[in-house]
Each structure stands twice: as C-alpha cells, then as structure tokens.
C-alpha cells in the first residue's frame, strides 16, 4: 500500500506495513552500496524497513501528515552512504570470520588425510628413518617443509582473523580492513599448502608408482582440490570486500 495515497484522516496508530516509495528508494540506495547480490542482504533490508516504518509512525504521532512523516523518517535515518559504510564493514568482518573458521576447521582434516596417505604407503616410516631428512630426495624434503610453512601461515592468519572479529572487537581500534586481510592471507596460505601437497603427490606417483594407497591418496587429493578451490574463491572475495572498505 502506498502511504502517500493514504488519507491524512487515518489515525496515526494504524501502522503501515510497507513504507512510502521514498522509503523503498532509500532502502534501495543503501543496498546498492552493499557488496554482492541484493538477496544476500534481505535481513538488513527487513530490519531497516521496519525501522523506517517505526520512525514514520513516530513522526505521524507527532502530528505530521503521512508523506511528511515518511520524509522525516528518511531524514532521520541519515545519509544512505554512511549507513551502507557501517554495514559494509560488518559484512566484511563476518565474511572474514566465517572464512577463517572454516579454514581453521578443515585444515587438520585435510592434513590428517595426507598423513594417513603417507602412513599407509609407508612413506611415514621412510620419513622417520630418513630423519633428519638429509637422505630424502631434496625436492621432497623441501616440499614437505614448504607445506608445513604454508599450513602454519594459514593457521596463524586464520586465528588472527577470528580473534580480531570476536570479543576483541570492542578493544581494538576500528580497522575494518584488517580482518578481511587476515582471512585473505589464510585463504592464499591454504591454496599454497594444498597446491604443494598435490604437487608432491604427483611427484611421488611419478617417482614410485604403486607405492601409495590409492583410496587414501584419492581422498586426500580430492579434499585438497576442494579446499584449494574454495579457499581461492574465499580469499578473492575477502580482497574484494577489503577493497570496498573506505
């Protein structure tokens, strides 16, 4: 229902369920400045719409005509750009936190699959007896070391991102770009760890075919490919969100 078309004699106590077109235009201006599709922000829009209606009611109770009340509500809500700025920082922080949590949770699972693959193929025994790895092929030793470095980087960046976006939020200076940066670093770290793991697997298969447990190796490779693709996508999205912050 169009509030502009509502006769002024309607008592102010009758709440509107749809704000005036000006209100919808205002909401559209806010959502146009938020990242991703409009459907991703239905909760924010529903909450703001309800707030606009409440504000309109309040101005009508104060004696304004419906159209003037709707305009006053929009003025009261402030510059749509400023409102969107606040939500963009929040959307980036939440996305960064989700990415960091998922990376931190899936890392050990993928890692265990690789360790299982190595153990089942007696590679672990070979590694243990070859300690301190001077007798290992240099490429394999360096590869394992690099995977460990990438995994550690991922874990630290993810932990930092989680810490930044949780309880500590209150105590930290408002640096909205930090969390998406940390999550992007964690994402690219995971991409690196998984890509290196897959490269080592390919090298092992080429060097000693038949030595690896096919089921476990396939499971580890599939898990790494899935994680690599998801981490890469999440990392780029974090960078995009970061770039959208003032």
């Amino acid at each position: 229902m169009n509030r502009l078309g509502t006769p002024a004699s309607v008592p102010a106590s009758v709440p509107a369920s749809v704000p005036a077109p000006a209100g919808e235009r205002y909401l559209a201006e806010v959502t146009a400045r938020l990242p991703g599709p409009a459907s991703a922000h239905s909760g924010i829009v529903a909450e703001l719409r309800c707030g606009l209606l409440d504000a309109t009611d309040s101005h009508r109770s104060a004696g304004l005509a419906p159209a003037q009340a709707a305009e006053a509500a929009i003025r009261e809500f402030g510059d749509p750009g400023q409102v969107a700025d606040g939500f963009r920082a929040e959307i980036a922080a939440r996305h960064a936190r989700r990415v960091a949590v998922i990376l931190l949770a899936t890392g050990p699972l993928v890692g265990l699959l690789w360790i299982g693959t190595a153990a089942a193929s007696h590679l672990a025994l070979g590694l243990a007896s070859a300690w301190p790895w001077t007798s290992l092929p240099a490429g394999l030793a360096a590869g394992i070391l690099l995977v460990a470095v990438a995994a550690a980087l991922t874990a630290w960046a993810a932990l930092f991102g989680i810490a930044m976006t949780g309880r500590l939020t209150r105590w930290l200076p408002a640096r909205p770009r930090r969390a998406p940066t940390a999550a992007a670093v964690a994402g690219f770290g995971a991409v690196g760890a998984d890509a290196l793991g897959l490269a080592l697997l390919a090298a092992e298969i080429a060097a000693a075919p038949g030595k690896l447990s096919p089921v476990l190796a396939a499971a580890a490779a599939a898990a790494s490919v899935a994680r690599l693709l998801l981490a890469r996508r999440a990392a780029y999205r974090c960078l995009a969100l970061r770039a959208s912050l003032a």
Binding site: P15, D54, E76, R167, T169
Partner: protein, 113 residues
Amino acid sequence: MRAEALKGHLDGILLAVLEPGPGHGYAIMEALRVRSGGQVDLPTGTVYPALHRLERAGLVQASWSEAGGRRRRVYELTPAGRRALDTERTTWQDFSAAVSALLHPAPAAVTSP
C-alpha cells in the same frame, strides 16, 4: 551531540540503553534520545550496523520477533555484554574525573615555585 563526539563511547551507550531490557533498533534509538534529553541525535540508520557489531562481539544477542504486524529484530544484553557495560562505566568515570580535574583546576592546585 554528533557521531564524532560519541566515537568510542557508542558501544557503551547502546549497552546501557539495553540494560533495563530487550529492545529493537528504533526503540533503542528513541531511548537514546530520551535518556540523553535530546542531546544524542545520531543518524538512526547508523545505529543498526553498530548493533550488528555488538552482536558479532557477543555483547548482545538478536532474535526476530513479530509484533503489531511487523517483524522486528530484538536485541538483548548477554552476560558478556553486562560485564562490558560495567567496565565501560568504570572507564568512563575515571576518564571524566580526570578530564574534569584538568578542565576545572582548583585555583590553589597550581603553585609556582
């Protein structure tokens, strides 16, 4: 009072407004205006992202509730939010006491050798 003047204190103020009981965004804004005697007048739209940030920090929890034909997001303090409010109060008291002492020095307090 504009948003810049409140910077750093908005979180505590929002928590204080929610202390007596849960409230939705617009009710929080009106309480803010009433309780400050009209002195605090932020753009209402900016209160919503601030509430979402408090929710992410675990200081408030939000839930949708339907009343009067409208679905509202209602915010409520968590135990961590109550503790944060206590801390905020102590910090503010210390800060305002220190600034007051500096802005209104007792005439005898400054002595020249």
